[in-house]
């Protein structure tokens, strides 16, 4: 037991060391080594914890000394001051942004200092869900950190006008790890709140990194939106300590639903907010102005995953309640709306952002329903989504650096220009929606779990899933068009290859590994799932084998092929991008994907999704007593 405690303390506290070191060492090569060593250690630490410590029921680590608690209060005060400091240059009419911070911190710190927060000794807790989260953060997060080194090198070469503060940027990455490990291992909600707000601060710093007008604007939007979630969390602390008499999360979850519903709903609200569900989707969409590694981090292993994690924790109370169904519907609405909105997007990062909102919506939907089978599916979704989404962001980031554009139309025929990167990207896209890759296994599990319940839920997943198939497929099609010989564009990618191939391999490996994770980690937590049937595992295995072996045939040179030019309905001109028009002159042809703006544009759908989700949230709080 002492050993586990050491792993956990190491994981929480160690990332602070590289974060501080990176601020002091300005030399790029030293920074590189710090990141490499620290990432390896974080990754090893997470795996070490997973190997030595699988806890189905969960295990507390009592801390009798009060010093940690005092440190957290002091940390809260420092954080409040930092929030006020970053708001110092805001115009006066945006006074409510610092006010949001002042109100919540004043209340929480006052409660804490005046002894109104009940005593507890159960500060640290670990169970299989925390271990799985730790693995996701440790492995995906550290791969992204390694990628960051190479990316920032290029980034500052391309953008000499942006001040080079890459040390700070990577330090923020490690601060993020610190906060994330804090959230998943803390058991008292006062502690979770402290780490929760650090993730808000980290995303603020990352989004505003380039200090352009747009970046600053978006970073403040993210700040205030996330502070609203923080406010809800603070309210949960106040309510839990004064009415429920405990800030111990496990104790709260074990209490009678009628007593504890409100703080749980407030925390779920904070989770929905952090997971960028509607109506808060805007902050995540704005976050794409930041350098790509931060998007990868926010979207895959950290930040939004903290949001779904907390809702997943609240699931036992939400299960079989009307308010829980509303939480599920907020997730469902976000899933369908975001998937529909993604259809009309040309910007690759926006497509990814909307698909993140959609996939997290599916996780929130599962958590809101809270039956064992849906929780099962939710955990699978967390794992697979983190891998494939991180991979996609890193691919898009690299393409943007090499070609100067992240417009999907400009990725036409990318396979002829950057073959290896495109193949990795295809793995990522396939990982997002195609059988037998992870997200599809999860979708399968979701539909199976939901089919026993009210048909509204499977219908949501089915329609959202079809839209998702549509926008991923048309992107995939653009990539693989063979346009004839083109100059190669993938020179100059260095350490990024490690991250890209690593994540591609993991995205694929996660498929055969899912039964092991299922048996050793999820089954003890949530019981048996039909996804562990041997039939299912066999089918997934066969399909995976086919989808890995079949593409090898692309490398075979078939002998009996007769090469011709594409048919252009008339005499072709020697250039295949031209055809002979009816008036006898050569005319260009070009081809674009359809984006169906008529039905799926932001103007048509965004407002409706906002209104719908706000109504659902109001219903959620009004159904608290049902």
């Amino acid at each position: 037991m002492g050993l586990h405690m050491n792993w956990i303390l190491f994981l929480i506290l160690f990332p602070l060391l590289p974060a501080v070191l990176l601020l002091f060492f300005r030399s790029v090569s030293i920074q590189k080594w710090i990141v490499l060593v620290a990432s390896a250690l974080v990754c090893a630490g997470s795996i070490g914890l997973a190997v030595t410590c699988t806890q189905a029921k969960g295990q507390y680590f009592p801390i009798t000394s009060d010093i940690f608690n005092k440190l957290i209060v002091a940390g809260d005060i420092v954080l409040a001051l930092v929030f006020l400091y970053v708001c110092r240059r805001l115009p006066l009419k945006r006074y409510w942004i610092p006010l949001l911070a002042i109100v919540q911190y004043a209340a929480v710190v006052w409660f804490d200092l005046s002894g109104r927060v009940p005593e507890t000794t159960h500060y640290i807790f670990v169970d299989n869900l925390s271990v799985i989260m730790a693995l996701v953060i440790g492995i995906v997060g550290s791969i992204i950190a390694v990628y960051t080194i190479g990316y920032m090198e290029h980034y500052h070469k391309k953008h000499p006008e942006i001040p080079d503060r890459r040390g700070k940027f990577i330090a923020t990455t490690f601060l993020f790890f610190f906060a994330m490990y804090g959230i998943i291992f803390s058991n008292t909600i006062t502690w979770i709140y402290f780490f929760w707000e650090i993730t808000t601060l980290c995303s603020f710093i990352m989004i505003g990194y380039s200090r352009t007008k747009e970046a600053v604007h978006n970073s403040f939007r993210a700040l205030w939106m996330l502070l609203v979630g923080g406010l809800a969390f603070a309210a949960a602390i106040l309510y839990a300590s004064s009415i429920c008499g405990s800030v111990d999360l496990r104790q709260l979850l074990a209490m009678d639903k009628s007593v504890v519903m409100l703080p749980i709903l407030l925390m779920s609200f904070a989770g929905i907010n952090k997971a960028a569900q509607f109506p808060f989707a805007k902050w995540l969409l704005g976050a794409m102005v930041a350098p790509t590694p931060s998007s990868a981090l926010l979207h895959s292993s950290t930040m939004v995953k903290a949001g779904v994690y907390i809702v997943l924790r609240c699931a036992p109370v939400l299960h079989d309640t009307a308010a829980g169904a509303m939480v599920a519907l907020v997730g469902g609405l976000s899933f369908v709306a975001a998937s529909a909105l993604a259809v009309s997007q040309r910007d690759a990062k926006l497509v990814l952002a909307y698909s993140t909102i959609g996939n997290l919506g599916m996780i929130i939907l599962c958590a809101g329903i809270g039956s064992h089978l849906t929780l099962w599916a939710a955990v699978l979704l967390i794992i697979f989504h983190a891998l494939a989404k991180a991979l996609m962001f890193l691919c898009v980031g690299t393409v943007e650096q090499m070609t100067g554009s992240r417009d999907i139309e400009k990725m036409h025929g990318l396979i002829t220009r950057m073959p290896l990167l495109t193949i990795i990207m295809l793995v990522g896209i396939a990982g997002m929606f195609l059988a037998p890759f992870g997200m599809l296994i999860s979708k399968w599990a979701v539909i199976e779990a939901l089919a026993t319940r009210n048909p509204a839920f499977p219908v949501i997943v089915i329609f959202g899933g079809s839209l998702m198939l549509f926008f991923w497929m048309k992107w995939m099609g653009k990539l693989i068009a063979v346009t004839g010989p083109q100059p190669r564009q993938d020179e100059g990618i260095g350490i990024e290859w490690f991250a890209l191939t690593g994540l591609a391999v993991l995205t694929t490996l996660a498929v055969p590994l899912y039964p092991f994770v299922g048996i050793h980690m999820i089954e003890p937590l949530y019981g048996f799932s039909p996804m562990l049937n041997w039939n299912v595992i066999w089918i997934v295995g066969i399909m995976l084998g086919l989808i890995l072996i079949l593409p090898l045939g692309f490398f075979i040179h078939w002998k009996n092929l007769v090469h011709v030019e594409p048919y252009l309905c008339g005499a072709n001109v020697t250039d295949t991008h031209q055809f002979m028009g009816s008036l006898g002159s050569a005319r260009d042809w070009s081809f674009r994907n359809c984006y169906i703006d008529k039905y799926f544009s932001e103007e048509k759908l965004f407002r409706g999704a906002l209104v719908g989700s706000i109504v659902l949230l109001i219903l959620m709080f009004s159904m608290e007593k049902l």
């Binding site: 539909i447 399909m543 081809f591």
Partner: protein, 285 residues
């Protein structure tokens, strides 16, 4: 053990039965148009002839996508006839379709790409109803497994009439019959040429034809599930449904994609989802 036999039967016989149905289809169609029509075996003659032709291709990867396409269609059908999970059958079918779409995209030919996009729209229109049928069958029988659904014993059509009608509606999309032959059709059309199959010739085109037979048998198998309580009724139902498809094919002009998408989703929501809600409340009251 019987699962293995049915699977082998499917792999070996589906192209034969599918080809025969296509042959009958052509005769019936011809009679409706007051023509005499080709012999029943004409589809097979066509395929053999296509295999004898040169394999024209615009790039060396392009026809290989069809191999993947065929493998996954056969996989999907095999899973169905082995009595496995209906959801994974549909997912495998989607993978197969995806390979066809990718094949068309890879040509970088405008007509193929228009066909590919329309095929995607067809998938978008049809997929919800397919998955919804699986959920509907589950709600009645308590299992997603085809074998258990087929041996349920009660006439499922009585519980799921709305779902069935919805499925028959999107069957026209999946079989690429008029009015929903948007991505490709049997006859060349002005704005589309041959759509998604424009750049395929010779053996590749023959593969597409064979794949179509496999897919048809799988889809008709799904229709059969609703009548599985009595095999005779089931076969009659299949023939009747297919006849309806032929009639619709011959009496309707091709529609625009918007009408296809809207009508398919509307029918899915009104008939499919409506049916499920009624069923849910009846079962839980």
């Amino acid at each position: 053990m019987s699962a293995i036999y049915t699977t082998i039967c499917y792999v070996l016989l589906a192209p034969l039965v599918g080809g025969l149905i296509t042959g009958l289809d052509r005769i019936v169609t011809a009679r409706m148009q007051s023509r005499y029509g080709p012999p029943v075996l004409q589809p097979f003659y066509d395929v053999f002839k296509l295999f004898g032709k040169a394999n024209l291709t615009v790039n060396r990867f392009h026809s290989y996508y069809l191999v993947c396409f065929l493998v996954f269609i056969v996989m999907s059908g095999s899973l169905f006839f082995a009595g496995e999970d209906l959801l994974i059958v549909i997912f495998a079918l989607i993978v197969a379709d995806s390979f066809l779409v990718l094949a068309a995209y890879s040509t970088n030919s405008p007509y193929s790409c228009v066909g590919a996009q329309r095929e995607l729209l067809q998938m978008l229109s049809a997929e919800p109803m397919m998955l919804l049928s699986a959920v509907g069958l589950y709600m009645v029988t308590g299992s997603f497994n085809v074998s258990e659904i087929a041996s349920y014993g009660k006439p499922l059509i009585l519980y799921l009439p709305g779902v069935f009608v919805g499925l028959v509606y999107i069957l026209t999309i999946k079989l690429r019959k008029s009015p929903f032959d948007l991505s490709t059709s049997h006859h060349a059309h002005q704005e589309l040429v041959k759509g998604i199959t424009t750049e395929f010739a010779g053996p590749s085109l023959a593969l597409i034809e064979i794949e179509h037979w496999y897919e048809m048998i799988l889809l008709l198998g799904m229709v059969y599930l609703f009548f599985a309580f009595n095999p005779v009724v089931g076969v009659v139902a299949i023939l009747f449904v297919y006849f309806i498809e032929v009639v619709v094919d011959n009496t309707n002009a091709r529609v625009k994609w918007e009408l296809m998408l809207k009508s398919a989703w509307l029918i899915t929501i009104i008939l499919g989802v409506g049916n499920l809600f009624v069923l849910y409340f009846v079962l839980h009251l």
